[in-house]
Each structure stands twice: as structure tokens, then as C-alpha cells.
Point group: C3
Chain length 142, copies 3
């Protein structure tokens, strides 16, 4: 019997960096009772993004952040959208280069992810803030 | 009662830039009668892409375009796929760096998006053209 | 009558490059009997990714690979995550810049893709390896 389950949650971020939400999504799927189907995750913001990344070694995430700091530097001389500060336009571009929604197959009641594959909110703004994530699960509760 | 609804539409683009389709997707979801579930949007092209972006200030989108113009310049000396012109290979690379499909949770009959979060077709070719978008909605008709 | 179908498969990769899986996904959808709905594909790795690309001219994919070789060079002096070799950290960054999951609408029993639009596993590691792909299909069996 196919059914749907939807919910939302927020996380607090405290500066540029990656914040893992894999366990939160896994708990939502278990709570839904859906054992086969698809979980869809969307971040409701344009100055933060989603990204899958390896979740074992934090140095890998530090290197990712340094890469983006160099690829999309602050205060590029051609930026015209600068009202909210130096991290404003880079945050939108870094979001466009990563992801906003991800969909994860569910089998036998579990998210189908690799052993060291985690889903992260990638915060691109410096100031502490709240980020909203919405999740829909569609599948068989059987 | 879970059901599905699928449809397609085209938009006309007139040069490199972003073209918002959020309202079109919202209307399709309302028309489907599905109140809880997931809407999936796919652009059927490899020289244009989808991207979520802030939809309040057009200067942010102009800065995004300038960023991509510099990151993926035309006429790189190593390009071998050049048959369709200077904007051919950059259009494929810019597509690979943004997105082709996005999935959006639906709650209470509405797309769950942030206040200034819009979904755009990002056209990477200069000549006017038509772009096809396909949408599938799966969920509970309430 | 809406139903779900989930399965997984692996492919062998033999070095950096793109490996098309469009036909595999199409066969899974046909096998599912689902004629309207959504197919979700996820790659269970963080040193390889998914990417839609034009599948007619292999020179376009060679140019894409050269672009990423230059954008994310090996042995950047600031990399600290280097335990698994020179292609370790670049593989994670190239993954973050492309995709991990893609969702494809299904109509009349077929994946809705453009004529030259193929889905590829983008392998970022040099050594031959196995990559796992999981697919969930949710929709109406008509």
C-alpha cells in the first residue's frame, strides 16, 4: 500500500561549513513506516545548499571549503549584488554549484547510501542562522 | 489515495540567461490535485540547465552569469567539440555544473520553497530556442 | 494503481571518465511495469558522481574531463586529505560539483529524456573499481 509522509525541520548553523543531516533524514524515513520508495530532501534557501560528501574524515570537508573559497572569492570586482555583505553573492554562486534537492531510494526501510556517504547542509553565510529542510517520503509501507 | 500526474511544457528562450518557471510548476501541482508528495522537474537538454536561485534581485542573476562566463570561457584552446560554435562546449560544461532534475516536496497542496527561492531554466546558448520541461507529480490527492 | 519498484546494480569502471547508464535505467523502468511516475537514481559513492551529458559526440565528454582536470587540479598545495593519493581529494570535489542523485519523470512507460541526453557515471578515480547504483521507481502501473 503506497502512501506519503512529509515533514520539515530546521537546523542552526554557526558559520561557513558543512552540517550533517543524514541521521535526521534516516529517522524521518523510519518514522514514516515506508520501507520501499523514495525520500526527497530540499533546502529552502539560496545562500546555503545540500551536498553529499564523505563523512569519515573532516579534513576532506575542510579542503572542500578551501576549494570553494578560492573558486568563488568574496568581493569580486564585477559583483553588483552586494547589499548583504561580502559573503552574499559568493553564497548564491556556491549554492548554484552544489545542490538544492536530493532524492534517496529507500529499500528494506533504510536510506540506500554508501558506507561513508553523508548528506550535509553546506552553509555559505558567516553569521549564525536557521536553515529549513523539507522532506517528502513516497512509497510502500507494506 | 496516492496517484500520479505527468505533463510537459516548453518555454522560449532568447539568449543566455535565467528564465523563471516556479509559477508554471506550482500551477501544474495545483492542477494535479495532489496535496502531499513530490514534484519532479527535468529539463530535456544538455546545453541548458535548471538552477534554484534567489528571485528577488535580478542583479544576483547577472552576477551569476558573469561568474560562469569567466569560469567556463568560450574558445578554450583545448576544446575539440566546437562544431556548433563558440557557445557549444561552454553550454555543456555550464549545464554539468548546475542541475538537470530537481525534486520539490509538496505539503498542503503547495510546493515547499523558500520565500525568495525560484526555479529557473538557465539557458546557455545565444540563439533563440525552445526548451522542453517534463514534470511528474506523485502523491496523495487528499 | 500506484506501486514501487527498487533495485541496485554495479558497473565496473577503468579510470577517470564517463560511463553511460541510460539504457540500464530504461530497462529497470520497463521491468517495473510502471508507466507514469518517477525514477530516482543515486550513486552510492563520494569519489564518483552522476551527470547528464550529451551522448552523441565523445569529444564533448573529453572536453568536459579536461575542464575538470584544470578546474580541480591534483596536488593543490592546500589539500590535507591526501591519504589515498593524488586523485583522492580532486575526486571528492569533482563529485560535489556534479550530482549524486537524479530523478527522471516517466510517461507512457518511458524515461522522459532528450534525444541526445544520456545519464553517466562520472568516475573520478584512476584505479579500476566497482560502483553501486540504486534505483527506485514510484508510479502507476497502468
Amino acid at each position: 500500500m503506497v502512501k506519503t509522509f512529509s515533514t520539515a525541520f530546521t537546523i542552526s548553523t554557526h558559520g561557513i561549513g558543512t552540517y550533517e543531516i543524514t541521521d535526521r533524514i534516516g529517522a524521518i524515513v523510519r518514522n514514516s513506516g515506508i520501507t520501499t520508495g523514495t525520500a526527497t530532501v530540499l533546502l529552502k534557501h539560496t545562500s546555503a545548499s545540500l551536498v553529499f560528501f564523505e563523512n569519515a574524515d573532516p579534513t576532506a570537508r575542510a579542503d572542500l571549503e578551501e576549494f570553494f573559497r578560492r573558486l568563488v572569492p568574496e568581493d569580486a570586482e564585477y559583483f553588483s549584488h552586494t547589499l548583504e555583505g561580502s559573503d552574499d553573492m559568493p553564497s548564491h554562486i556556491r549554492m548554484a554549484l552544489t545542490r538544492t534537492s536530493e532524492s534517496i531510494p529507500i529499500m528494506e526501510g533504510s536510506l540506500q547510501l554508501g558506507t561513508w556517504q553523508g548528506l550535509f547542509v553546506y552553509e555559505h553565510r558567516r553569521r549564525p542562522t536557521q536553515r529549513s529542510i523539507v522532506v517528502s517520503v513516497v512509497g510502500d509501507a507494506g
